[in-house]
Symmetry: C2
Subunit: 254 residues, 2 copies
């Protein structure tokens, strides 16, 4: 079983949290894959550079300058910082963006008449490249920067990258996709961290949904989890970085 | 024979020059190693961020912010841009910084009472990691960002990285170190690009030095070339990116 662990936001930006997560990874899944976002790093850099954020319908447009900032923040600083910390913990990590080893091929998003800029939707994950690294006991650490076949870098959602990597690797071996959150899992009562729902399948999910235990931001996360399971991933886990083997385990009845 | 090609400066910053260099690499040395600097990219980013450059004795001090900018510019933008272009030319490139696969271990420079900041001097190159990639027909594309055993990223001179990589690989196979310059090679007459000295060994170098054909900036480059040859590299070549197999070939008499 290979674990694909997705981290983002605060986990990457706070040095002590990141250090402690890397300690956990060294123990729990030294042979896994790490996928990271960059939190608000790129946004902060853009604002320090005095760049204007262009929005359409509340969604950010990734123009050339915004892409450059995203590549610098995610593929540069975030990726290399994480890899260096993992190496210092004895994990032979290798930072990758989609272009490296051609690992994640994407295309520029088309959506009617709106040009979202350099945003990439994933076409393919080259699992044989990841396998080469995993077979050599290397932990791939993947940033959400992808590329297209003409050599254009693209900015991609990190959750989508993690899901695509888990699905692609599930054709080689059993995979578990772990999303690290701020919360210890899916909570039956949002205000009570001890109310973690330990196990969910599609049946209990529908049941809890009706009861009103699951709502707002958790719904798309769980809907995506079930899609990922249908595509071949054995289990999806939602947890916090302190409990990589606990939290909420989501699986599909066979 | 494996070629280790070092590029920097203008070659990286001008898109058309970089595209044409990548075309050349795809033909001349699809199984080589590329080492790049970042030209004035990091300096420009620092100045856009309003950062002050701290100098001691005319040399730049790499404080924490300067390091962050160097990592973003070199390991991020420059490295990923080059890799994406190479991939689009059919070369299976993989961008690496020193921390990736633990490939270049360094230590923070100590020099008497002056703290140069996060500048790294190289301790070791993990040639087995590079060999794994080369055996899989992957072209490693290496940025000059290294790291120390405690997980600290460091900024290192790209020429030194290229030389250290060539020396380490020379224990596995024959290596040629190619420095891409603005000029087509070592010129007997600096103002005449057609006066390239095609071959140099230590004897002819001393001879031309006495004649005054070789001077100023070329002297340290050539002195370093002879050091690299003594450490096991078969040949060093100084050329421009249009003529990767021409220029000036420097070798050592056996």
């Amino acid at each position: 079983m290979i674990k694909i662990v997705k981290i983002g936001g605060r986990l990457i930006e706070e040095e002590t949290v990141l250090n402690s997560l890397c300690d956990k990874l060294a123990v729990c899944c030294p042979s896994g894959v790490l996928v990271h976002g960059g939190g608000s790093m790129a946004g902060r850099l853009a604002s320090r550079l005095g760049m204007e954020v262009r929005m359409i319908d509340g969604r950010r447009v990734t123009d050339r300058q915004t892409l450059e900032v995203a590549v610098m923040a995610y593929a540069g600083w975030a990726n290399k910082k994480i890899v260096a910390i993992l190496q210092s913990r004895g994990i032979n990590a290798c930072g990758l963006s989609g272009c490296d080893l051609g690992v994640i091929l994407a295309h520029k998003r088309f959506s009617g008449e709106i040009d979202w800029g350099y945003v990439g939707d994933i076409d393919a994950v080259k699992s044989e490249s990841l396998r080469m690294l995993l077979d050599a006991h290397v932990m791939p650490v993947i940033s959400p920067i992808t590329f297209d076949c003409r050599g254009q870098l693209l900015n991609t959602n990190a959750d989508s990258v993690a899901a695509a990597v888990a699905i692609a690797l599930s054709r080689i071996c059993d995979t578990e996709l772990v999303f690290c959150l701020d919360k210890p899992g899916v909570l039956a009562d949002v205000s009570d961290d001890s109310s973690v729902i330990p196990v969910l399948n599609e049946e209990t999910y529908r049941e809890y949904l009706e009861k009103g235990w699951i709502h707002s931001g958790m719904i798309p996360k769980l809907e995506n989890a079930f899609k990922t399971l249908k595509a071949g991933v054995k289990a999806v886990r939602l947890t916090d970085p302190q409990h990589l083997e606990q939290g909420t385990l989501i699986y599909q009845e066979k």
